[in-house]
Amino acid sequence: MSVDAGTRSGDVHARQLAGLDALELTTRQRRGLASRIWSGIWPIASAVALVLVAWQLVVLAGWWPEYVFAGPVTTLGVLAERLGEAEFYTAVTVTMRRAVAGFALAIAVGLVVGALVSRIRPLRRAVGSLITGLQTMPSIAWFPLAILLFGLTESAIMFVVVLGAAPSIANGLIAGVDYTPPILLRAGHMLGLRRLRLYRHVILPASLPSFLAGLKQGWAFAWRSLMAGELLVIIANQPSLGEQLHFARELADSPGLLATMIVILVIGIVVDLLFGAADNALRRRWGLRQAAD
């Protein structure tokens, strides 16, 4: 049995290699650009097609009337119509602006809290568990406080978003710090790095994977909190996705709701792709992935 570079036969050794393929351990021949784009697109395209077909079939089965569960045609029609309106873009812009601003603030807060809590033992004992406690607090519980503190302003929305996302981010950082390999800490210590510099040059980079995972979760929390929070203050002439979602539901507007859900999903996917790119860069640098996949 034998393995030629590039080709494989069905023997034991080749099967080992095939096993490793799944492990992404092998460096593989760089493929043409077209084939790489194709291999990136077909799974997504077929997944979308599959969902659409299944959806249409369910609707055709006629279990529920169209106004209760709209079909893809109606929904995509509504979506297309929205895409043609300026208001849609205003709404997306407003919501994204809030999401990004709130998330940025949450990162700052989460970083500081995570850094302090992970390194100062009494603080950790005192408020470490509180962080998860806060995470489990539904956004609506914060609304009265948000209004008390900030009135009917966008700051109230931000407050809810930050309270939603910061705990995740802090928790991600803490987990990363806890799992920093001691040998790297020791090495940093011997290099004369202490406290803040040890933090900046060793602990933070070593925690980056976990921190990134925390950021991703934090984004999800921020976004959900925002969707709820956008109902808290409906600011004149500022349509938002949260509002649209709420009204679609309030009016039991099935195609509208589904269209909004698609928009939210697409935004979520795009954001995930951004995180994915960061993650890939990180993994490549750390030598955790070797293939050009």
């Binding site: 049995m1 034998s2 393995v3 490793l20 092998t26 460096t27 593989r28």
Partner: protein
């Protein structure tokens, strides 16, 4: 010049093919300008039941060669045939599972073969004795010294009961005495199981002490420079004059090779 197969090895290989055969194997890491050619058309056979030692400067591609043979990586060019059945490998780092006890790490080698739990435990304890770590089975890897971890990795590789054993500097972190003891153990197991071994080391005496052949690789990119048959009778002793004499010759050749590359 490349030495022909020794008679001994030729004898062993008679009737069946070599356990491992590399034909003009090259390995390139990366591509283009930043790419690095680690191995350059290496051809090498390890006969069934043969003990081959691999010598070469740091970074010349020895570990790369081993992982190609193990099937963990694919050559950029050339063919690798491995007919020797199951392949076990001992990495340059211990690569122990930190979440398992020492004993469980060794047992993991037996798990893939469906050995029962009780037997696994017994066999693991046996192998721990072999590497002189009896009584450390319940510890975790982080509680061991560097040399002890390496010995656990050795025990794990031996426990696999493979036909081809690839070893990457297995005794690098051990003192001379422990090393001598383990040389004897390894030689015993090699004989008993009729293993084919490809053994990377930086210690020329060790290579001569253990090997049927000592293969010398050139500096980056790795190429087979010379293939020394070792015909000394076994059992050999690392500190014997014959081993020293042969090691001296190989060292000279190695030095010459390293110097030629200006490193």
């Amino acid at each position: 010049m490349t030495a022909p197969l020794t008679e001994q090895a030729a004898d062993r290989a008679e009737g069946r093919g070599p356990a491992v055969r590399l034909e003009a194997v090259s390995k390139m890491y990366g591509q283009g300008r930043t790419g690095l050619l680690a191995l350059d058309e290496v051809s090498l056979d390890v006969g069934a039941g043969e003990f081959v030692c691999l010598l070469g400067a740091s970074g010349c591609g020895k570990s790369t060669l081993l992982s190609l043979v193990a099937g963990l990586d694919r050559p950029t060019a050339g063919r690798i045939e491995a007919d020797g059945g199951r392949v076990a490998m001992m990495f340059q780092e211990p690569a122990l599972f930190p979440w398992l006890t020492v004993s469980a790490n060794i047992e993991m080698a037996l798990r893939a073969k469906g050995v029962t739990r009780a037997e696994r435990r017994a066999r693991a304890a046996e192998f721990l004795e072999t590497v002189h770590l009896g009584g450390f089975g319940a510890k975790r890897p982080h509680e061991l010294s560097g040399g002890m971890r390496q010995r656990v990795a050795l025990a794990r590789a031996l426990a696999q009961d493979a036909d081809v054993l690839l070893m990457d500097e297995p005794f690098g972190a051990l003192d001379a005495m422990t090393r001598d003891l383990l040389h004897d153990e390894l030689e015993r197991i090699w004989r008993e199981r009729n293993l084919s071994v490809l053994f990377v080391t930086h210690n020329v005496r060790e290579a001569v002490r253990l090997g049927d052949r000592v293969v010398l690789l050139s500096s980056r990119p790795g190429r087979v420079v010379e293939d020394f048959p070792v015909t000394l009778e076994r059992p050999r002793r690392t500190d014997s004059a014959e081993v020293a004499e042969q090691a001296g010759r190989i060292t000279d050749r190695l030095r010459e090779e390293v110097m030629r590359h200006g490193r």
